[in-house]
């Protein structure tokens, strides 16, 4: 698999390259700036780009912007964002085109390299992966309306929903919760019914549906008249 890495910290970039090479990935370019990233993405059209959000020249969100620009030109180009922090706004922007093939992880998730490699493969295959912290924030936001559809979920269904939103497959969820895959698919049917979402067997589309649902949160709505 051909991968582009964009990270401005030398040690971290070298570490990523070493880790990925050891796992059999081909690194076609490793760059330390946003313009370099854009050139590499458009020039090499890799199978996946691993991008630090904060890159030179302005050291703000240049990495994200470059990646989004590239995705406009090459629809569906798989992008995995790495960052020291997660922001719902960035997650929204990343998911805005609904095309899948995106991931957003905290940098230190790289430490568990098996999981990290799983994520890379999922994103490269057009899947969607969100850091558990993003999902926690989204769920917190979605459920703060108190009487929304989320409150109708059972505790177990909530756990399943959380793992689904992180982008895990049925089997991964089953492993994680120590239940059978069949039980997972039963829960997921129930969740989709309760949230009034169209059911889907396709893992990727399922993740996108769940994330879209969570992001269309009532947070933008009016304040309910409470007094």
């Amino acid at each position: 698999m051909r991968v582009v890495v964009a990270e401005d910290l030398f040690l971290l970039r070298e570490g990523l390259v070493r880790l990925l090479k050891a796992r059999g990935f081909e690194i076609v370019a490793a760059t330390d700036s946003a313009p370099g990233l854009l050139d590499a993405l458009l020039g090499f059209r890799p199978d996946l780009a691993i991008v630090d959000i904060r890159l030179p020249p302005t050291h703000t969100d240049d990495g994200l912007r470059a990646a989004l620009t590239a995705r406009e030109r090459i629809p569906g180009l798989p992008i995995l964002l790495l960052s020291q922090y997660v922001e719902q706004i960035y997650a929204q922007e990343l998911l805005a085109d609904r095309a899948g093939g995106v991931g957003y992880l905290l940098k230190h998730r790289v430490f568990s390299d098996d999981q990290f490699v799983d994520v890379i493969r999922t994103v490269a295959a057009g899947g969607t992966v969100m850091d558990p912290e993003v999902v926690t924030k989204l769920l917190g936001r979605r459920s703060r309306g108190a009487r929304g559809p989320l409150s109708r979920l059972t505790e177990r269904e909530r756990q399943v929903l959380e793992l689904m939103a992180e982008g895990r497959s049925n089997s991964a969820i089953a492993n994680r919760l120590f239940i059978s895959e069949k039980a997972v698919s039963k829960h997921s049917t129930s969740i989709f019914t309760k949230l009034e979402l169209a059911p889907s067997d396709d893992d990727n589309r399922r993740v996108l549906a769940v994330l879209t649902y969570l992001m269309s949160a009532p947070g933008e709505g009016r304040i309910p008249p409470s007094q």
């Binding site: 959000i53 904060r54 050291h59 703000t60 969100d61 020291q84 922090y85 922001e87 719902q88 706004i89 940098k107 230190h108 430490f111 924030k137 917190g140 936001r141 703060r144 309306g145 009532p218 947070g219 933008e220 709505g221 009016r222 304040i223 309910p224 409470s226 007094q227």
Partner: protein
């Protein structure tokens, strides 16, 4: 110049003098209370347009009877009028203005702009008192016809009160950008407040000089000249009000000098009161001339004139060192400019605050790093060192130690992220104030509506101060207000950033108690920003922050 009834019982004149004295005492007390050190939040001397609106309302109100009299005098019935020429008995307007001015200065607490209905109410009540005193006086002394007391006139007089109060209230509507107006910018001094007495001083002076502009036209004047002089009088009054808004300090000086002059004149005149009573006939009266105990009435008139003169003189003398002498000292280079002195004091305070809060912040970061990340890095280093030694002898144990080190490094990162967020949120650095506040709103455990209209980027220190101010206010709302929802509005117009945070919680937030809001106020003060809180028990709480930024 008071409308005391020289043709009968003198008590209403006494009531007016007493009322003025009470107002003056209230004003003195307010002045005393203001001499305590003022927080930097809002310039203490700010005189709002609302006050001026109330004043104009009172003035217009006070002039209604004058107009009625003018109209009546030209109606041709005729009657008698009893005057004390040097103590001008028709000065209803002057009395109304003086009282409204004193009350208005009393009601100008430094901390907040008076409520929308306070001043029209004061104006209406003052006017109502005067109105009834005036009519009652003349009804009691049975000279009603000669003074135009017809049911229609009384009705018009009474109806005009609520109408003028409503007009004055409407004038208090906040301007489009939501900023309360103020006299001559933020630098209006505390003493400039006394400029509000100038309209009264002008009318009193006019009366003394024999200008018939603000009192009833002389008996027999035609309706044209009567109305014209009424309108000219109002126009002059409006000009004076506009002038005092523009040059409040000079207006305050003039008012003080005028009060001294008029007071002294009245006191001096009261000694000659006995000889000045005069009965004038106008038209063809249908009744006999009023029979008066001239001796007694003139005596009352001179005593009251003396008292009112003494009150005015005392007020003027008390104001002199606060206005004229202070300004003269400044002009002669003997005293510091109060505006500059206050600015220096403000800057000294806010600089000290800024320096000490920066130092406190550094101490907090140092402590957090020391207790958190630094400690964990030491542990990681030790673990790795032991693992290094054991890697051949006990690879299993070594691997476990390495895993432990990895977990510890993740925890250290987590702590560092929290710390960085507390120092300068990444979103603020990446996208600026607007997006950072939107991100903050998204992360809240409550529904939060945002309405943000900002230019691309503001100065970095300002962005940071405003962000943390909003974060603190929002945190307060979430923690203490039991709110169900929040609204954050941020608008930048004409060099002023206005931030509003509204919650529907229980209210009762007070910047004076607790350190949260006071901290925000101090933080904003370093940028000449201000914080205003409205939080009645039961809510809602509205926190408004305004920061100038070009």
């Amino acid at each position: 110049m008071w409308p005391f009834p020289v043709d009968g019982a003198p008590w209403p004149g006494g009531v007016l003098v007493a009322l003025t004295a009470v107002c003056a005492v209230l004003a003195f007390r307010a002045e005393q209370a203001r001499d305590r050190p003022v927080r930097t939040g809002r310039p203490a001397g700010r005189i709002g347009w609302p006050v001026v609106a109330g004043l104009v309302g009172t003035a217009a109100y006070g002039s209604v009877p004058a107009l009625l009299l003018a109209l009546h005098n030209t109606a041709g019935t005729g009657g008698y009028i009893v005057t004390v020429p040097d103590l001008q008995p028709d000065g209803l307007l002057a009395a109304a203005l003086l009282m409204a001015g004193l009350l208005a200065t009393t009601l100008l607490p430094s901390a907040r702009v008076p409520g929308r209905w306070v001043l029209p109410l004061v104006a209406a009540v003052t006017g109502e008192l005067l109105e009834w005193t005036y009519w009652l006086t003349h009804a009691l002394t049975r000279s009603a016809v000669s003074y135009g007391l017809t049911p229609l006139n009384v009705l018009v007089g009474c109806v005009s009160i609520p109408v003028l109060a409503v007009l004055a209230g409407a004038a208090l509507r906040r301007p489009a950008n939501g900023r309360p107006g103020r006299l001559a910018g933020a630098d209006a001094l505390r003493s400039a407040r006394w400029a509000l007495l100038l309209p009264a001083v002008m009318v009193m002076t006019g009366d003394l000089l024999g200008l018939d502009l603000w009192r009833s036209a002389s008996p027999g004047t035609g309706i044209g000249p009567a109305v014209t002089s009424y309108l000219v009088g109002l126009a002059l009054l409006a000009a004076v009000v506009a002038g005092l808004v523009r040059w409040p300090r000079a207006a305050a000086d003039l008012a003080a000098l005028g009060l001294v002059g008029i007071g002294a004149y009245d006191v001096a005149q009261s000694g000659f009161g006995q000889h000045l009573l005069e009965v004038r006939k106008f038209g063809s009266p249908g009744m006999p001339a009023p029979s008066l105990d001239f001796e007694m009435v003139a005596h009352h008139a001179s005593v009251l004139g003396g008292i009112q003169g003494a009150v005015l003189l005392a007020l003027g003398l008390w104001l002199l060192p606060r206005t004229v002498l202070a300004d003269a000292g400044r002009l002669l280079g003997r005293g510091p400019d109060p505006a500059l002195a206050r600015r220096v004091r403000e800057l000294t305070e806010t600089r000290a605050d800024a320096v000490s809060s920066a130092a406190a912040e550094l101490r907090r970061i140092e402590r957090d790093l020391h207790d958190g990340a630094q400690g964990r890095l030491v542990t990681i280093g030790m673990n790795l060192r032991v693992a290094e030694e054991m890697i051949h002898s006990d690879p299993h144990e070594a691997a476990a130690l390495v895993v432990e080190a990895r977990v510890a490094s993740a925890a250290a990162l987590e702590e560092l992220r929290g710390l960085i967020r507390g120092m300068h949120p990444p979103m603020l650095a990446d996208r600026g104030l607007g997006e950072a506040v939107r991100a903050l709103a998204l992360d809240l455990p409550l529904p939060c509506e945002t309405e943000i209209d900002l230019p691309e980027r503001l100065a970095a220190p300002l962005e940071s101060a405003c962000y943390f101010a909003v974060a603190e206010v929002v945190t307060n709302a979430v923690r203490h207000a039991s709110a169900h929802g929040l609204q954050i509005r941020m608008v930048w117009t004409a060099g002023l950033l206005r931030i509003e945070v509204v919650d529907d919680g229980v209210g009762g937030a007070d910047p004076a108690r607790g350190t949260g809001l006071a901290g925000v106020e101090r933080r904003l003060a370093a940028f000449d920003g201000i914080l205003a809180v409205s939080s009645p028990p039961g809510g809602p709480t509205i926190v408004v922050m305004e920061v100038p930024c070009a």
